[in-house]
């Protein structure tokens, strides 16, 4: 009996467990998946929780519910990967042999990287919304906040779902409008990039939206410090931005397990072949989702496309055949723009986000790079799709892993 071990039962690990459960012969392969948590968190929901649009119940469900019966789920912290011996060490001291290993341990925030970020104002006037705790604490704050300077801030790239902080700023604008207190709130969007987004074409569209919503942008800001006493953030060049409420996205890093195992780069991401998703260091290790260092967006939609490619590659690898499938960097993200609207962007390693219609060329019903109510409905529907389709590894109808070019204006 051979054993395939999946590390992490988040978005990517759960999808792989479901795919491989269908594909691997149970008389030859045993599948084990390990996660330290008992609950699966729907992270895209963290964007909506602070504004009372979603409740905690929308966001948290038991992991077990999404893992196939034949797959063994271990609820333990992973201590170390001993790749030379094909072993995974768990925190209680046991170790587990693997024939094939899939790393899907994701990325998490590391506020400790910036001086003062986790200081005395943390969860008083300084919040993150990239954790459940942070989003919930921020919800409670926003319910009573009386206004002032709201600063929405990104520490450094790469981050999960790079549009989420922008969406936060857009949603904040519409939240305060509804509360009839927009005139009491000054919103500033602070980014280390030189514009609203990482891709020039989408940046132009998004910069325009910021202006329209009266959100100021401060670009090229590389934060050195959060000054808790004077409530301002300071960058390495000495630039200072004052805040009454700071909503920051701290540095994102892979799990420390990678550092302990000598498998990560300086941000604990695992060096990975960007088309086959095989680890650069060990042929029997594969990496998908936020845990890898490939130059694709860290997003659930990306993990979904990767899972389809990786399943085929693992089957080839096991048979000793060449891995033919290539991941093209395909990402597909709804960008919530407030007031019940959203836009949709679709891009890959080589193509920038484009205009057009999606998923049916010339028809839609979703429009790329343009605000529409239909896109917003798409974004909210994503929650249902996530829990009921994505995690189970069912392909999304009409949206293949490889990006389609018809109907798009390159």
């Amino acid at each position: 009996m051979k054993r395939l071990v999946i590390l992490g039962a988040g978005t990517a690990g759960t999808m792989m467990a479901n795919h491989l459960d269908h594909e691997l012969n149970p008389s030859e392969w045993e599948i084990v998946i390990i996660d330290e948590r008992k609950e699966h968190y729907y992270q895209p929901g963290y964007l909506f929780l602070p504004f009372d649009i979603y409740t905690p119940e929308d966001i948290i469900k038991p992991i077990q519910k999404f893992i196939p019966k034949k797959v063994q789920l271990l609820n333990e912290k992973i201590e170390k990967i001993n790749a030379k011996e094909n072993e995974v060490w768990l925190s209680k001291g046991e170790s587990l042999h693997y024939d094939v290993l899939i790393i899907a341990t994701g990325a998490k925030i590391a506020p400790g990287e910036i001086q003062g970020m986790q200081g005395e104002e943390w969860y008083r006037t300084v919040f993150d919304f990239y954790t459940f705790e942070g989003a919930l604490a921020l919800r409670d704050k926003l319910r009573v906040w009386e206004g002032g300077k709201l600063v929405v801030h990104i520490t450094e790239m790469p981050i999960k779902c790079p549009v989420a902080p922008l969406e936060f700023a857009f949603l904040a604008d519409s939240f305060f409008r509804h509360k009839k207190m927009r005139d009491k709130v000054e919103i500033t969007y602070v980014t280390p990039l030189d514009g609203a987004f990482t891709k020039p074409r989408a940046t132009a569209a998004l910069n325009h939206l910021l202006e329209e919503k009266n959100i100021a942008i401060e670009s090229d800001f590389a934060i050195a410090e959060v000054d808790n006493e004077n409530k301002k953030i300071i960058d390495y060049g000495g630039r200072e931005i004052p805040f009454d409420l700071l909503v920051t996205v701290p540095t994102n890093k892979g799990d420390e397990l990678m550092e302990r195992s000598g498998l990560g780069d300086e941000l604990n991401y695992v060096p990975t072949n960007k088309s086959t998703l095989q680890s650069m260091a060990f042929p029997d290790i594969f990496v998908l989702g936020d845990a890898s260092n490939i130059p694709a967006s860290k997003a659930g939609s990306v993990a979904h496309f990767q899972a389809e490619v990786l399943t085929k590659n693992i089957l080839s690898y096991i048979k000793g055949e060449p891995m033919k499938e290539e991941f093209d960097g395909h990402a597909n993200c709804f960008v919530e723009t407030g007031n019940g609207k959203a836009l949709l962007i679709d891009f890959n390693y080589t193509h920038e986000p484009v205009e057009g219609s999606f998923p049916f060329s010339g028809f839609g019903p979703l429009s790329l790079l343009k605000e529409s109510r239909m896109n917003h409905i798409g974004k909210l529907a994503f929650k249902w799709v996530y829990w009921n389709v994505l995690l189970k590894g069912i392909p999304i109808p009409f949206v293949p892993a490889k990006m389609q070019e018809a109907g798009k204006h390159f």
Partner: protein
Amino acid sequence: MEKAICNTTIEVNEEGFMINFSEWNKEIGEELAREAMIELSERHWEIIEYIQDEHRKEVPLSIRKIGKSGVVDIKEFYALFPKAPLKTATKIAGVPKPASCI
């Protein structure tokens, strides 16, 4: 697009980043620095050389990585190439704008 510089022409993108690193030489670097209003010192050159080495090794660049390189700390990097140091330094070094931002 083409850009005339130091009695020759180089290929640049719309932001002024060189497209072919092989077209770069020290003279061009000096001229690009002048355009960015930077007078290059010994220290500047050490950093530019480090950036070019990393580029040759195909290692993606980020401010964090440069800060941890042992060549320069982030504070000094900002002092040498003010405002957007990574962008300015890579432009002068003739390497593509870092895509540490996806």
